[in-house]
Structures are given as structure tokens and as C-alpha cells.
């Protein structure tokens, strides 16, 4: 049997079958049928060449040719049935690349969404989620946190002061840390809690500085809570936040309300720690401040500083969001502009 003719036959049959499937309407199907199975059709023409074969090969070729032709005809018949059925439903032919009409979707504020995401992480570790006053007394914002008047640490936090009578000195809280003392006063020890919220600094606005921003404060006080525990909880938090394990390191840093105090860096996700422009070639990116709760703060909260120890941390939320989405200007968050928010 001629190999060449057999191959040509199989190819022609396959093309005819594909043509049947490709037809999107009965008209197209009829055209395809004529082109392949009609008197001058490709397959028909090929079948006629049976006469050119030596007689002993004709039998086998004829059998193969009939099988192929029957399959093609079946395919056309099946497609005709499908198309005829489809026609009952109207003229619409579905284009899978046309976007579907969607119900109007809303958009969560990216900073507040991050706040809720952080809440979820700590809720899963058994932390309470607390709120505290934003107009705060000087005592809770500073003194209870071991920042007496005239302490140079107050310079680091340019403060909005409220207009009040002489009897009280109030501020817009400069950090969420006052809630450390308030939470201890209210719940005592042991305690695990976070305080997400707005904080305020009297700073001139630019692309990286806001006067109004968000922090999440965290506090865990119990018997024998150590730096090792703080590192463990912070690593677990960041792993959830970044969706992968990240290396962290502590550097000594001064915050009056913790002792010892730290800044916590994580290994730069862009360069893996080898140093790049994003991490200023250090391989590390500072992400939060933390430390062991100062005995002064525990005592201010009415907790026995001998029996209990604890750690606290504070993380700025805007920076996390800006890192995650590569947002270039912090001022977008208060713009109210749909062109910005619709992207989230």
C-alpha cells in the first residue's frame, strides 16, 4: 500500500474533521462539507486516486478510505446537530474574550485593610484587639511611658497640643503606646493585646511624611516573657504578613518605655540580604520598634514588675502598605481620590 497516499488520506480526513468542529454556524458547516466531501472536495479527490494503485493494494486502501470517510461524515452530522440545537437559543455566539459585565465593586482603604489583616494575624495568636482615645492626656502619652517633661525623647515626636483649660494638658496621641498602660490598668496581667489606631505628629507633609498615620501597638505581659519570645512572635507575625519566612534581627535602640529597646530589621526581600538600592545596600530593612516593657510602665499599669515581664512593639502601617504596593507618595492615603483607591 502506498505510504504516501495513506498519509495524505489521513491528513485530509483530519483536516475535514477539524473543519467540521471549526464551523460556527450551519452555513459555515455546509460550506465545509462541500469543500471536503463534495464532488470536487479534497477528500473525494483523494479517494478517486484509488485507481492509480496496484490492484493488490486497492482492497486495503479502500477499507481504510471508507473508515475515514465514515468518521468524517459522523463528525459533520454531530456538529450539525449541535449547531441546530444552538440555533434554537438565538443568534448570540459567545466570545470568551469579551469581559463580562460586573456588579460595581467597592474598594477597601489599603491602609485600613492592612490594619485589619494585622488584626487577623494577632487574633489568631490569641491577642485582644483594643482601641484607645486619640485625644490623650500628657500623662498617658508621655509620663506613664517614662518620658518626663524636658526629656530629649519628646523632641523626636513633634506633638499636637490641644487647646484646653489650665487644669489639663492634652495631646493628639503621638503613638499608640499610651494604651500599654491603659490596657494594663484595665485588664491586668497576664495580657496579650494589640491596639491598632491613628496617631499624630506635627510634621510638614511630603511624600514620605504624614501628620496623621496608623500604628499597631502590641503588648504581651506574662510570667517569664523574654526577648526570645518577642523574637518568636515577631517572626511569626512577619511570616504571615509576607507569606513566607523572613530572617529578622534586633538592633539596640532607645525608646524610653522599653528596656532593653530594639529596632527590628528583616532581611531585604529584593536582594535576599546581599544588599541593593531598596535596602540602601545593607541587606536589612527596618520595620518596627520593640522591646521589653520597662518596669516603670508595668508599675504605672499597676502590674508587679518583679512577677511579670513583657514585650511591646509598635509598627507603622503606612510604610508596610507602601512597601507592598510600591506606593510612591504617602499623601495618596488621605486624598479621597477614586483613581487611587480603585486600584485596591
Amino acid at each position: 500500500m502506498s505510504e504516501e497516499l495513506t498519509a495524505a488520506l489521513e491528513q485530509a480526513a483530519a483536516q475535514a474533521r477539524d473543519a467540521a468542529l471549526a464551523a460556527r454556524s450551519l452555513n459555515e458547516l455546509e460550506e465545509a462539507r462541500t469543500a471536503h466531501l463534495g464532488r470536487k472536495g479534497a477528500l473525494t479527490t483523494l479517494l478517486r486516486r484509488i485507481g492509480t494503485l496496484p490492484p493488490e493494494e486497492r482492497g486495503a486502501f479502500g477499507k481504510l478510505a471508507n473508515e475515514q470517510k465514515r468518521e468524517v461524515e459522523e463528525r459533520f452530522a454531530a456538529r450539525e446537530k449541535e449547531l441546530a440545537a444552538a440555533r434554537l437559543h438565538g443568534v448570540f455566539d459567545f466570545d470568551p474574550t469579551t469581559p463580562g459585565p460586573r456588579p460595581a465593586r467597592g474598594h477597601e482603604h489599603p491602609v485600613l485593610a492592612m490594619l485589619r489583616e494585622i488584626e487577623d494575624v494577632f487574633l489568631s495568636m490569641g491577642f485582644l484587639v483594643l482601641a484607645g482615645p486619640e485625644v490623650e492626656t500628657e500623662y498617658y502619652n508621655f509620663e506613664a511611658l517614662n518620658i518626663p517633661r524636658h526629656h530629649p525623647a519628646r523632641d523626636l515626636q513633634d506633638t499636637f497640643w490641644m487647646e484646653t483649660g489650665a487644669e489639663c494638658r492634652w495631646v493628639l496621641r503621638t503613638h499608640t503606646s499610651p494604651m500599654q498602660v491603659r490596657a494594663l490598668e484595665r485588664f491586668g496581667a497576664p495580657l496579650r493585646a494589640i491596639v491598632p489606631g491613628r496617631v499624630y505628629r506635627n510634621e510638614t507633609l511630603d511624600a514620605t511624611h504624614e501628620a496623621t498615620f496608623h500604628q499597631v501597638e502590641g503588648l504581651m505581659v506574662d510570667r517569664e516573657v523574654s526577648v526570645a519570645h518577642m523574637k518568636g512572635v515577631m517572626a511569626a507575625f512577619l511570616e504571615r504578613l509576607f507569606g513566607q519566612k523572613v530572617a529578622i534581627r534586633l538592633r539596640p535602640h532607645y525608646f524610653p518605655f522599653v528596656e532593653p529597646g530594639f529596632e527590628l530589621d528583616f532581611a531585604c526581600a529584593f536582594c535576599g540580604g546581599s544588599g541593593c538600592a531598596f535596602c540602601k545596600r545593607t541587606g536589612w530593612i527596618e520595620i518596627l520598634g520593640c522591646g521589653m516593657v520597662h518596669p516603670h510602665v508595668l508599675r504605672a499599669g499597676g502590674v508587679d514588675a518583679e512577677e511579670f515581664t513583657g514585650f511591646a512593639f509598635g509598627v507603622g502601617v503606612e510604610r508596610l502598605v507602601m512597601m507592598r504596593h510600591s506606593i510612591e507618595d504617602i499623601r495618596h492615603f488621605h486624598s479621597g481620590s477614586l483613581r487611587f483607591f480603585e486600584q485596591f
Binding site: P103, A104, R105, G106, H107, E108, H109, V111, L112, A113, R116, E119, L123, G126, F127, L128, V129, L130, A131, P133, E134, V135, H150, P152, F160, W161, M162, E163, G165, C168, L172, P190, R198, A211, M220, D222, V225, S226, V227, A228, H229, K231, G232, A236, I248, R249, L250, R251, P252, Y254, E259, P260, F262, E263, H294, H334, G336, S337, L338, R339
Partner: protein, 806 residues
């Protein structure tokens, strides 16, 4: 603050350690190093030159034409510096040399005179910011020698993050960091030596401390000689690398001592102190002083002043006076080294809005013992820098302040519990001892005495000692461990849970975008919304801008502002905000109430048309009300709405508005924005807003979901359409219909509208009525009868029925 690596080498032998390694170890154990910079590595084209000749430029008064010997050749160079003079030794960049910023120096013509090089200032060489004049080098350097080979030119600098040492008065000089490195690496510390031969005694001036609470100790050293000469190269280079400009010998030595041991000193010109006495006293009312920076300053009453018999000559711990300082002719100086009260210098500095290097140190509470170390070190450095200067053998010492001794116990068990790792007693002792602490063992515990330079403020309790041991040990060596905390169910805060549910609903299914406005509302925003009204506002005393002092009492003005910003660009805006407002408490002294509010705005740029093509009014408000009803449903607190009688917020429409209730409690309002507000903003469409207090809403108990078994018999539905006056409220109509047709089990609103062309006071309503019996399938006649009863009840109320509903 910059640290010179070569200077640190005076105190500790750093061996072959690289700058990067040292920076990393300091970052992990002491303070953040923000950067490493190498200074002075110039190419061979920057050489030492001698100015042989210096003439004025023929066509420019401010330029000089110099002939400079650069070893084996002389160059003609045009120079614009005011301080250039013949005979000077200077750095010269030859043609082809690379300057700071990567510029390559070319041969140029300046006003017609060819210049074959450049005599360099600090800025051009990238050594500092000073571009006022060229660098003048000490004599004796060989012309033509590559500049970088001159002693002191090349150095590596570590940039310290000042914020990380605000609590460490001992780390404001090189010696303190030398001590840290000695402790980190286990090396010997060589402290900066002082002139030990000096004796406390008398001098040409007496010192009287009249305000001992402000100045605990005051030492004065007397020196005589060429004090306005140039300092030697090694001293000048260290100052330059650390960012200070060398001036005159007596001033340079003062700065050097400050950068080295952290003690600020101040030289006075002896001739300018009158009356043979230095008085340390409080400023009287209305005293003034022209300070070193040339400013005439009104002195805060009570501030610590240094005065002579007649007048103030310096502000203690902050800045010296211009007229008593060193100048080019000084030959006799009195050098002050004192201990000032940290709180008082800070208050004075804030009152003057003036921060200086001296203040940055004194406000950290320096060790009083440094006052005497300051004069001894000054004398030693001055002797090394200028052997010809005469130093009096006696200095005057007034006041006897010392740091109160700090003695603490350190329990290894407490340390292990707090750090999470045990550290051996030997390691604890040796870390503390290298940091200057005196340690003795007492059974299990250590007794630890803090060195005076850590005892003023920094070291106060056992935890402070734990930090010292922990950081030298290395925090990065502490393992991560999750706490084994008791299993306690977390109590959820109702307001927070409600907030999260509302955002999920509004930003999910209901298509709102969550926004966040500043809590301080701008006056003009309030003004656009009908003014601030009579309610009391909490105000910020020092706002970012005067027009934004008030803390908001409502989120609606902010939302209206945001709607306005967006409505020009899009057809429809749906915004929500969940945040706080600030309501002054009724009683003075109590913190304000800060309820959490949920507010939303829905705006459409134009009125939409109905199927009849007429523009329909009030539809935006209806849709927003639907969204608010969903909120109530989600929180399982069904809301009730009542026409607002009085006390409507100023931005609400007088008639298209309502009060919102949950149970008996009023929780907020909803309504269209007042036509005046909308007109003021130029809106053509409609904007509706609501605001409810989540705090009040969640105070009500949630309604449990009531379950009813699905009915067994099928319902029959029929629509009725009619025109009805607004005086027949929907709820009343429903109640009436239910009474009129007892098999009516459910009423759904299909449509409500009012459009142009209809009688005012009327709206079109279409209701879908569902009839059902609990025990049988209804037949056509029963339903027909029910429907007739319903329709005749409506007709009796004055409704005008349309067509037959199916």
C-alpha cells in the same frame, strides 16, 4: 555625628578589622551606623602646591591670578577664594583631575586669563560643605607631593544615627565609642590623657557660681600665646572629616576636645572679660546678647548666663557671645569647661529656637566630672598642637557637683528570664567591667556600680544592666521562641467587629470605596457645608495650618469634600468612612467622647431617567437608604427611619432627610445634601449621605434570626400600581393593606418615583402583593376577592389606581 576610624584608633587597637565589620558590630550592639564614607582618596593629579605669587585679576576684583609651584613646574591658576595669599601651601587640582561629583578639571580661560588648575576648597574635594575659601595646609609639606599622602587627609568615617544615642551622654565623642569597641572586641581601652600636672587653684579671674542649681561645676583654664594661629594639620584634618571647619587654634582645640570626650568647652578672649570675675547667674528680665552667630537674642528670664562684672558674655551650655570670643588677634584666653543642668539648657534652647553642638551634649545630662577632664584634656591637646603656647599651671575650679552614685544588683536569674538565654557570671562581669562598671559578686547576685558617665540619667535600674549585658552578648544570638501562653478565648470588641462587618459589606457587595479624611477639618470645608454651627469643637493649639484647628464632630463634611473632588470625573461616587469624631465632654477635665461613626455618601452627577424618560428625583437617597438598611441587616440591628423634626445637621436637606433609630435609640441621620450646599458646590445631580454611630448601634442587643418553616402551599403574587400622596406613608399603607386583605402575607416594593410632570406631593408606587394560605392552595376567586379588598382600601385613602396588576 561622624566618627573617624583613625581617631577611634587612639582609644582602641582595632587591628585589621574593616570599617564594614566595625559598623556592623556597632549597629548590632550599640547604635545604628547609617553609612560609611572614605574621605581623601584623590588621584595623583591633586597635589600639594605653594602659592608663589598672588596678584589681583586685571578684570575682576574678586579673582586672583596665582602662580603655584607644584614641584618641578609652576602653574598659572585663577582663584576666586577670598582667603588666598602668597606663601600659602594649598591643595591644587591639576588639569585632568577628578573633582567631587565626578567633574574632570579642564584648562579654562576666566575673564581672559588662562587657568591651568584649581586651588581647592573642601567642597570641591568632597571633604565637607565649606566653599567659603580654599583649604590652607600647614607649611613644610613638599610641593608636588600627591595630596592624599599628606598626613590625615585619608580617613574612613562612620555616620552615627543620632537618634539611637539620645539616651547615652557618653556616646557623643570618639572616646565613648572607643569604649564600646573595647567591650565588644574584648580589647584594652586607652582613655584620652589629660594634663595631670594642672592644679586647682587661683588665677587672674575669680569664678562665682550664683545659680548652683543651673551649673554644678565651673572650671576655667588660662592660656597665653598665638591662639589665633592655624592649628596643625592632624588636628585640622580630624575636625574637617567630622564636619567642623577649622578656624583658630584656641577654637579648634575646643572643638577637638568636644568631639573626643564629649565635653563642650568655650574659650573667651581674656581682654574682653571685664572686672576680673566670671559670674554664673540667671538672666534678668530684658537682657540681650549678640551671640557667636551674629544674632542679637533676647535672653529668656532665668536662663543660665555666663557674665563678667558688667554684662552677659555667653548663654551657659548653648552658645557664646560674639564680643567676648576668640578673634584673629587673641593672645590670651580663658577656657570654660563646666557642668550645666540638662533640663534648664533644653528649656533655654527651646525658648531661643537654637540648637548647637554643645546643647546636644549638655541636654543629655553629661557627667559633672567631665568639667574638670575638659580643662585637663584641653591643656594636653593645646600643648601637643602648639608647644609654644603658655598654659597656666593652676586652673580655677568652682562648684563641687558629682553624679550621684548608682549602685544596683543584677540577678542572673532575672537576666535569663528577661533575655530568654542564660549568660554566665564571668561573661556578665567582663562585659560590664569593660564598659566601665565596677562589679562585685555577692553570692548568686552581682553588685554593680555604674561609672559616673553613665550615672546621670541613663542607668537607673536592673533592667538597664540587663540591656548592657544583652547587647554585648549580641541580641542576634538569642533564639526565636513562641511563648507557651495559657489558652484563653479572645474577647472581641463589638465596635471593631461591627466596623469590619460594615466595611466587608459596603466595600464588597454594595460597591462603596473606603476613604479616610484627616480628623482636623478645614474651616472652609465646614463653611461649604453650612458652617461650624454652635457646637463646641476641640481645637489643636499648634495646628499644621491655622484654618485646620478643629477636630471633626462629623465625617460628613469630609465626605462631601471627597465627593466633590471625584464627581467631576465620574458619573457616580459611592464613598464610606468609618472613623472617630471628637465630642468635648460635658465636664471640664474629662477626655472627650470619641464615638466610632460609619458614614457614607452616594453621589450621581446627573439625575437618571426612568423608563418613561422623565428624570426621577430622590432616587440616590432611596438607594443609599437601601444600603443603610443592609448595614442594619448585616449587624442584626434593624433600623427605623423617622422624618427629622428639628436638630438636623446643617448639611441635610430640610425635607428629604430622616433620623435613624435602632430600637428606641437614635443612632444617626440620613438625607439628601442640602440644596444650598449642593448649589454652592455647583452640583447638578444628587448626593445623599448618612452617618450613624456604631458605638451606639452595637450598644443595642442584636435581634436573633427568626426561623419559619417553608410554607407548604404555593403563593399567588399580584402587582398593584397607584399614585399616592406622600401624606400616606409607605408603612401605613402596608399596615392598612394587611388589615384589608387577611391573606396578604408579604408586600414588596417594586418601584417608587416622582418625576417632572407629576403633581407635587405625589409619588407613584408599585407593590408586589403575595397572598398565601397556610392550609390550602388559593383559587382565582379567593385571590380576586383579596385583591379587590386591597385596591378598594387604597382608593379610599385617596390613591389613584392604575391598570390591573397581574
Amino acid at each position: 555625628m561622624r566618627l573617624s576610624l583613625s581617631w577611634l584608633g587612639d582609644f582602641v587597637d582595632l587591628g585589621g578589622r574593616s570599617a564594614a565589620e566595625i559598623a556592623e558590630d556597632l549597629t548590632l550592639r550599640t547604635a545604628l551606623i547609617e553609612g560609611i564614607e572614605t574621605h581623601g582618596e584623590f588621584s595623583d593629579d591633586v597635589v600639594v602646591g605653594k602659592v608663589v605669587e598672588c596678584r589681583r585679576h586685571p578684570r575682576a576684583d574678586r579673582l586672583a591670578c596665582c602662580v603655584v609651584d607644584v614641584g618641578g613646574e609652576t602653574l598659572e591658576v585663577v582663584c576666586g577664594a577670598p582667603n588666598v595669599a602668597a606663601g600659602q601651601t594649598v591643595p591644587v587640582a591639576k588639569v585632568g583631575a577628578e573633582l567631587a561629583g565626578g567633574v574632570r578639571l579642564k584648562k579654562t580661560k576666566i575673564r581672559g586669563v588662562a587657568s591651568h588648575g584649581m586651588i581647592c576648597s573642601e567642597q570641591e574635594l568632597g571633604l565637607g560643605d565649606d566653599h567659603e575659601g580654599i583649604i590652607v595646609l600647614e607649611e613644610g609639606l613638599e610641593a608636588g607631593r600627591p595630596f592624599r599622602e599628606c598626613p590625615g587627609v585619608v580617613d574612613t568615617l562612620l555616620e552615627i544615627d543620632n537618634k539611637s544615642v539620645t539616651h547615652r551622654p557618653d556616646l557623643w565623642g570618639h572616646e565613648g565609642f572607643g569604649r564600646e569597641l573595647a567591650a565588644i572586641y574584648g580589647l584594652e581601652l586607652r582613655v584620652a590623657p589629660g594634663e595631670e600636672g594642672l592644679r586647682a587653684g587661683g588665677g587672674p579671674l575669680a569664678v562665682r557660681i550664683e545659680a548652683p542649681e543651673l551649673c554644678g561645676r565651673y572650671c576655667a583654664l588660662f592660656v597665653r600665646g598665638r591662639l589665633a594661629a592655624a592649628s596643625p594639620g592632624w588636628l585640622r584634618w580630624r575636625l574637617r572629616h567630622c564636619g567642623l571647619r577649622p578656624i583658630w587654634l584656641a577654637v579648634d582645640v575646643s572643638n577637638y576636645v568636644m568631639l573626643e570626650i564629649g565635653q563642650p568647652t568655650h574659650p573667651f578672649d581674656r581682654r574682653r572679660l571685664r572686672g576680673g570675675v566670671i559670674r554664673v547667674r540667671r538672666a534678668a528680665r530684658d537682657e540681650r546678647l549678640v551671640t557667636l552667630d551674629g544674632e542679637e537674642r533676647a535672653l529668656p528670664e532665668g536662663a543660665c548666663l555666663i557674665a563678667d562684672a558688667e554684662r552677659a558674655v555667653a548663654i551657659g551650655g548653648v552658645i557664646g557671645g560674639r564680643d567676648s570670643g576668640i578673634d584673629g588677634s587673641t593672645e590670651e584666653a580663658v577656657v570654660e569647661s563646666a557642668s550645666f543642668d540638662a533640663v534648664s539648657v533644653r528649656a533655654t534652647s527651646s525658648a531661643l529656637s537654637l540648637r548647637t553642638e554643645a546643647l546636644a551634649r549638655f541636654e543629655k545630662a553629661l557627667d559633672p566630672a567631665l568639667a574638670e577632664r575638659g580643662v585637663r584634656r584641653y591643656a594636653a591637646v593645646l600643648r601637643a598642637a602648639a608647644p609654644g603656647v603658655e598654659i597656666a599651671g593652676e586652673f580655677v575650679r568652682a562648684g563641687d557637683a558629682v553624679a550621684a552614685p548608682v549602685e544596683l544588683r543584677l540577678r542572673p536569674g532575672r537576666l535569663a528570664a528577661k533575655l530568654g538565654v542564660p549568660i554566665g557570671a564571668e561573661a556578665m562581669e567582663s562585659s560590664l567591667a569593660r564598659l566601665g562598671f565596677v562589679v562585685t559578686r555577692q553570692g548568686e547576685e552581682l553588685r554593680v556600680r555604674a561609672p559616673s558617665f553613665r550615672a546621670t540619667r541613663d542607668i537607673r535600674c536592673e533592667d538597664d544592666l540587663i540591656e548592657e549585658v544583652g547587647r554585648i552578648h549580641g541580641y542576634h544570638l538569642i533564639p526565636e521562641a513562641l511563648p507557651a501562653a495559657a489558652c484563653r478565648p479572645v474577647r472581641l470588641e463589638a465596635v471593631n467587629e461591627a466596623w469590619r462587618a460594615c466595611v466587608r459589606l459596603l466595600c464588597g457587595r454594595l460597591g462603596f470605596t473606603e476613604v479616610s479624611a484627616y480628623p482636623y477639618v478645614e474651616d472652609n470645608v465646614l463653611e461649604r457645608c453650612g458652617g461650624p454651627g454652635d457646637e463646641p469643637y476641640l481645637c489643636i493649639r499648634n495646628p499644621l495650618q491655622q484654618g485646620a484647628r478643629r477636630l471633626r464632630r462629623s465625617q460628613v463634611p469630609g465626605l462631601i469634600e471627597f465627593v466633590d473632588r471625584n464627581i467631576k470625573a465620574v458619573e457616580e461616587v459611592r464613598l464610606c468612612e468609618c472613623g472617630r469624631v471628637y465630642l468635648p465632654a460635658a465636664h471640664g477635665g474629662e477626655l472627650p467622647d470619641e464615638p466610632a461613626l460609619l458614614s457614607a455618601a452616594w453621589g450621581e452627577r446627573t439625575l437618571r431617567r426612568g423608563p418613561d424618560d422623565a428624570r426621577r428625583e430622590g432616587q440616590v437617597l432611596r438607594r443609599l437608604k437601601g444600603a443603610l438598611e443592609e448595614v442594619g441587616e448585616e449587624l442584626r440591628r434593624p433600623l427605623r427611619f423617622e422624618r427629622l423634626a428639628a436638630a438636623a445637621p446643617r448639611w441635610l436637606h430640610p425635607t428629604r432627610s430622616a433620623a435613624v433609630f435602632a430600637g428606641a435609640e437614635r443612632v444617626g441621620e440620613i438625607g439628601q445634601v442640602h440644596p444650598d450646599v449642593a448649589a454652592g458646590l455647583g452640583w447638578r445631580g444628587e448626593v445623599a449621605v448618612f452617618e450613624i454611630s456604631l458605638s451606639n448601634l452595637v450598644a443595642a442587643a442584636p435581634t436573633p434570626r427568626a426561623y419559619e418553616a417553608p410554607a407548604r402551599f404555593p403563593p399567588v403574587k399580584a402587582d398593584v400600581s397607584f399614585l399616592a400622596p406622600f401624606t400616606l406613608p409607605y408603612e401605613e399603607a402596608c399596615a392598612g393593606l394587611r388589615r384589608a386583605a387577611e391573606l396578604l402575607t408579604r408586600i414588596d416594593l417594586v418601584d417608587e418615583y416622582a418625576a417632572a410632570g407629576m403633581d407635587s406631593g405625589e409619588r407613584s408606587l408599585t407593590l408586589r402583593l403575595t397572598f398565601r394560605a397556610a392550609d390550602r392552595t388559593l383559587n382565582d376567586e379567593e385571590v380576586g376577592a383579596q385583591l379587590r379588598q386591597a385596591r378598594s382600601w387604597l382608593a379610599a385613602q385617596g390613591a389613584e389606581l392604575r391598570g390591573e396588576g397581574g
